[in-house]
């Protein structure tokens, strides 16, 4: 546990070095909040009842989504692994007397916490003040939002880990990540909520793990999901968390044997 915090603290501090960078990141989030609000206003002006929820709920969904999505694009375990493979430094990581999954999770958690306190929470505050973000429908919903968001974060970590492991085969991660990123944006409900997806696409979107990242916490927060539907959604999240963590451990063990270290 001590080692875990040491790594987590280290990546937290790296984040603090570049202050200019930080301001730019925050202003990006604010810009996106501003624009997503306008998109929904423009769409609602045309057909107010089309989405099954009120404009306030929809704006809350969009603005909050813009803030919390930063949780998932934080560390990029896939980039770390493929970078280490490219430079050859991966041997050093493997030599460390520490489980590789734990090591990665510690680094990722450090950056996640950095983003949470330095970018996401301030952005949410601005959201409340300027962009029509509303508080959660009930305090219980607020609590469950936090819980499901945490599970979502872990799921995204394992997805990233699987991608990184794949990069040991392709030796390059950028283009897989490109496609993966697009799928995440589409199926996580980051911009367009999953309940707007038509027919089969909608069913597919609810079953895939991506929905656990954003759609589940956001739907609970805005009160679109309530009662038993929340339990089902959390059950699905836990299923994906278990499945992906087992899969990434299994794949890592199989592929570790054939690591090609470039350079070094």
């Amino acid at each position: 546990m001590k080692v875990f915090w040491a790594f987590a603290r280290q990546s937290f501090q790296t984040g603090l070095i570049y202050r200019f960078d930080f301001w730019l990141r925050v202003s990006t989030v604010l810009l996106l909040m501003y624009s997503i609000r306008w998109v929904w206003i423009a769409l609602y002006a045309q057909r107010p009842g089309a989405f099954g929820v009120s404009l306030e709920q929809m704006v809350t969904y969009g603005v909050l989504s813009t803030a919390i999505v930063n949780l998932f694009y934080s560390f990029g375990v896939q980039y770390y692994i493929s970078g280490q493979v490219r430079s050859g430094a991966i041997d050093l990581d493997l030599l460390k007397p520490l489980d590789f999954h734990i090591h990665m999770l510690a680094r990722s958690a450090g950056e996640m916490l950095f983003r949470l306190f330095v970018i996401i929470l301030p952005a949410m505050l601005c959201g409340y003040l300027f962009f029509g973000l509303q508080p959660p429908v009930t305090s219980q919903a607020g609590f469950l939002f936090a819980v499901t968001l945490l599970i979502g974060y872990l799921i995204s970590f394992y997805l990233g880990f699987l991608l990184g492991t794949l990069s040991l085969v392709t030796l390059e991660v950028h283009s897989i990540d490109w496609a993966f990123d697009a799928l995440t944006r589409f199926f996580s409900g980051q911009f367009v909520p999953l309940w707007l997806f038509p027919g089969l696409l909608g069913t597919l979107a609810t079953l895939l793990p991506f929905g656990s990242l954003l759609a589940t916490p956001l739907s609970i927060y805005t009160g679109v999901l309530s009662g038993d539907a929340i339990l089902t959604a959390i059950g699905l999240q836990l299923f994906w968390l278990a499945a992906l963590s087992l899969a990434s451990r299994w794949l890592w063990r199989r592929i570790q044997a054939r690591i090609i270290s470039q350079g070094g």
């Binding site: 960078d21 730019l24 810009l31 769409l43 045309q46 057909r47 089309a50 283009s175 490109w178």
Partner: protein
């Protein structure tokens, strides 16, 4: 060897080196197609709930999106390496460009040929021609000329803006954050017609960071959405002028950046 020859020689070398990663090539092509389909899919889902987004129909939005992608893909194909400037400066590898007897700018630009972007360009052309037939457009020679000019301008605008951002690394040490902000503006302009956002946004993407000249303004002309009675109706025709202006600015800034460059000395 003159500048142009050198540039193409460098491109050729980088192409050979990236061909080593064959698996990545295939995955990369698929990745780009998925990316574009997803982007259009998101707009598509929204529009099926409505008929239009502030009097832009689905196919007009496809046109808007693809016009941006086409200009950007030409940029990425040839010049996408500008984004790496920060790494060269931090690691001190920029020095190697200065030591060789050739223009540093050409060496940086010729660093990489993103052949994958051809997929992007083909996607955009397909999208544009589909939109052209679906919208029942009938362009005369003048429109076709403006279309070609708009694409070239788009490529130059994105090149100049990205180089400008990359140059900020000479002063601040980092440019990725600034690049991210510019990319967000690109992303918004690429997807949505800018008139749905507030007035402030419109001013920014027209005057300050003129990304709207890549697709929105040319699209107004090409889709016949111009209202000649309103004041400022000539603005959409200015894309080529904006592109030239930006190229002029960036060449000045680049020269200044080189003059005050100090190596990180590692």
């Amino acid at each position: 060897m003159n500048g142009l020859q050198l540039y193409f020689r460098l491109i050729q070398i980088s192409l050979l080196s990236s061909m080593q990663y064959r698996a990545n090539f295939i995955v990369g092509l698929l990745g780009l197609i998925v990316w574009n389909v997803v982007n259009l899919g998101l707009i598509g889902i929204l529009i099926t709930q409505f008929t239009s987004l502030k009097d832009w129909t689905l196919w007009e939005l496809v046109f808007l999106y693809c016009l941006w992608i086409l200009g950007n893909s030409l940029y990425s194909l040839f010049f996408s390496h500008t984004g790496q400037m920060e790494d060269y400066l931090i690691e001190g590898t920029f020095d190697q460009f200065l030591l060789r007897p050739a223009s540093p700018l050409i060496q940086v630009l010729g660093r990489e040929f993103q052949y994958l972007e051809i997929a992007d360009a083909l996607f955009a052309l397909t999208g544009l021609s589909l939109a052209y037939t679906r919208l029942g457009l009938r362009w005369d020679g003048w429109h076709w000329g403006f279309f070609v000019l708009a694409i070239v301008s788009g490529t130059l605008i994105v090149l100049a803006l990205n180089l400008l951002v990359a140059c900020t690394a000479f002063w601040t040490g980092r440019s990725r954050g600034a690049a991210m902000v510019v990319n967000q503006f690109h992303g918004l302009v690429q997807w949505y017609p800018i008139d749905i956002f507030g007035r402030a946004f419109r001013l920014v993407v027209t005057g300050l960071l003129p990304v709207a000249f890549m697709n929105y303004y040319p699209a107004l002309v090409l889709l016949g959405k111009l209202d000649h009675a309103s004041p400022g109706w000539w603005l959409p025709y200015l894309s080529p002028a904006v592109a030239l202006l930006l190229v002029g600015i960036v060449s000045r800034v680049w020269r200044l950046a080189l003059i005050q460059y100090t190596s990180s000395g590692s």
